[in-house]
């Protein structure tokens, strides 16, 4: 059933598929960000209570959702890397980690900047904020663990294990606002009785989430390509690629 996936375990094939996919994601990301941000920041109506301050939602929510999404995909690739011992999957873990760390940091920083005027504080140790901070530390841990080993095989395995173990934090982040009393408000988009956000604000938000996802995909693919080239630099196909196919060794 999964036979069609087998060729992509080879580095060269994976490199090529990265190249093929990248432009599509890039186009959607650029168009989506332009449309989403102009719509959200300039044209969407102001909130009835927060006025214009709520507009940080168009950056905060996409980065927060996708930091969790990126972690989940990182954990899945780590699982594949461990069970089937596919090196490309291991490289994908390393490609995703810094991107996820960056969006997690963006979510925390924009949240703090919004919290100061709205709540009256930059930071409070409630369940949502704390678990989100743990997510950032997990990302940093995965990156640090990978760079702590000389032997890249051992490094990959160690960071894969941390990536998989850390995934238990993701549902905790999501449900933290339901399980405990928190200062952070509950989920807006995924409420059971429909979204708690007016459609004039929801559409630009959804566009932004899609655009952020595509932007992250582009960056991850670029990083994955680099990791593959770095790991395979002594192979003939990489030499061929670098020399433009002229003087194959």
């Amino acid at each position: 059933m999964w036979k069609w996936l087998h060729p992509y375990a080879k580095a060269e094939k994976a490199y090529q598929v990265c190249n093929t996919l990248m432009p599509y994601f890039a186009v959607v990301a650029v168009i989506g960000l332009i449309v989403g941000w102009t719509w959200g920041l300039a044209y969407a109506p102001a909130d009835y209570q927060q006025k214009d301050s709520y507009r940080i939602i168009f950056i905060h929510v996409p980065s927060a959702i996708l930091s969790m999404g990126a972690y989940t995909s990182m954990a899945i690739t780590a699982f594949i890397a461990m069970v089937w011992q596919i090196r490309n999957a291991e490289l994908a873990v390393i490609a995703i980690a810094p991107v996820g760390a960056a969006v997690a940091a963006i979510a925390l920083i924009t949240g703090a900047a919004w919290g100061k005027p709205m709540w009256g504080t930059w930071w409070v140790w409630d369940a949502r904020l704390t678990t989100m901070l743990i997510l950032l530390f997990l990302y940093i841990g995965v990156i640090a663990l990978y760079h702590a080993f000389e032997d890249k095989g051992a490094a990959g395995r160690a960071s894969c294990i941390l990536a998989m173990v850390g995934v238990v934090n993701v549902p905790i982040i999501h449900y933290s606002v339901e399980w405990w009393n928190t200062l952070h408000q509950g989920s807006t988009i995924t409420k059971f009785d429909g979204s708690a956000i007016d459609s004039s604000m929801l559409y630009p938000l959804l566009i932004n989430i899609l655009a952020f996802a595509c932007l992250m995909a582009v960056i991850v693919l670029m990083r994955l390509k680099n990791e593959i080239l770095e790991r395979e630099k002594h192979r003939p196909w990489v030499r061929n690629l670098v020399s433009g196919g002229k003087n194959a060794v």
Binding site: D47, Y48, Q50, V83, G120, A127, L183, T188, M201
Partner: protein, 160 residues
């Protein structure tokens, strides 16, 4: 699937389940302590299975809705007093300082302070809790039938 992969997969799944349940049990045990705040009814009636009440002099956080019409401001200073409610009893909060932007009557807030009487808290920090609803002003008026405006302050008495 070959046996080695199968073994690895089951080992990983077992480890993940183990860690997941360990963390789950820890969080369950800590459930009461992770809550950021007491609600007014927990403060008065006690919280948890043992109905533990906080003692006078204890530093704590309380979260609830500001009772409409209960906000009393001092004409001379930044002192303000209001009542909080969730489902049952009322708790009085006294505060000296500037209230956050989203502080309104009928709005959720979280206050941190010292319990000075069983139902009175001297707060040193008041945070506004925002709900998950976002809508433009005209929609809010149509849906809720209320015009949300910041409370009017008399500029002469040092309000903001």
């Amino acid at each position: 699937m070959n046996p080695r992969r199968k073994k690895r997969m089951f080992t990983i799944i077992a480890v993940l389940l183990g860690i997941g349940s360990a963390i789950g049990l820890t969080l369950y045990a800590l459930q009461e302590n992770i809550n950021l705040f007491y609600t007014p009814s927990e403060l008065i009636e006690g919280k948890g299975p043992n109905k533990e009440k906080p003692f006078v002099g204890q530093k704590l956080r309380i979260g609830g809705m500001v009772v409409p019409g209960s906000v009393v401001r001092n004409e001379e200073s930044l002192d303000v007093e209001f009542k909080l409610i969730d489902t049952g009893p009322l708790v009085t909060i006294r505060y000296h300082g500037i209230l956050p932007d989203l502080f309104r009557e009928g709005q959720g807030i979280v206050a941190q302070g010292v319990l000075i009487e069983p139902n009175v808290i001297e707060a040193f920090e008041v945070l506004a809790k925002h709900d998950e609803e976002y809508m433009p002003a005209d929609v809010a008026e149509a849906v809720k039938g209320i015009k949300h405006e910041k409370p009017k302050y008399n500029l002469n008495n040092g309000g903001y």
